[in-house]
């Protein structure tokens, strides 16, 4: 005899992943998630619908330029897996892992270590889902 416990559906979709991320951090203004082919899998903004296509197009170019920068960086071991850009108006954080690329726009005082931790956690969960 076995005990069967009903568990909620734990399927993590790209949309759910971004909503989850939004709940984790109040600093996030917009987020976009790209699949392995560079296509927009989901985009999210707490303040409404972000221009997903344009955000995705821009996000898909980030790591290409980051890899170029890494080639000239002595002692750096490519590939680039994370990047951050901070300017007066805000900050951008991006991570690529598990075949996904995620980029979020946040306030300029968001803590990079926490942001990267959350982004990596989300991509790791999505990766497990796909496995």
């Amino acid at each position: 005899m076995g005990i069967v416990t009903a568990v909620p559906d734990s399927t993590l979709t790209p949309e759910l992943a971004l909503r989850y991320l939004d709940e984790l951090s109040t600093d996030i203004r917009a987020a976009v998630l790209l699949d392995g082919g560079g296509e927009v899998a989901a985009a999210h903004s707490p303040d409404g619908e972000p221009p997903a296509d344009r955000l995705g197009e821009l996000a898909s170019q980030l790591f290409g330029h980051a890899d170029t920068a890494a080639e000239g960086a002595h002692g750096f071991q490519p590939p680039v897996t994370q990047l951050e850009v901070t300017i007066d108006e805000g900050a951008l954080f991006a991570v690529r892992a598990e075949g996904w690329t995620i980029a979020v726009v946040a306030g300029r005082f968001a803590l990079p270590s926490l942001m990267f931790y959350d982004l990596n956690a989300v991509l790791s969960d999505l990766g497990k889902q796909a496995a």
Binding site: A69, P79, T86, I87
Partner: protein, 70 residues
């Protein structure tokens, strides 16, 4: 550590150094910062003339501006 100077002149110099250091910190905070990380977490802050930095900055500026649009 700063070398202590004695006398009123030393005090004035100390204040001037603190003001200058504060200005440098404020200036540094306003400078755009572009950093990349490798797979083992090593960070590299890109110098102003680093390859790819200008493009990353441009992409980020547009994305941040898009996110700010209501």
């Amino acid at each position: 550590m700063r070398k202590e100077r004695k006398g009123p002149l030393g005090k004035v110099m100390g204040i001037a150094e603190d003001v200058a250091a504060g200005q440098r910190r404020r200036h540094a905070r306003r400078e755009p910062r572009v950093a990349i990380y490798d797979s083992i977490g090593h960070a590299r802050v890109l110098a102003e003339d680093a390859q790819g930095r200008a493009e990353l900055l441009e992409l980020a500026q547009e994305m941040i501006s898009l996110a700010a649009t209501p």
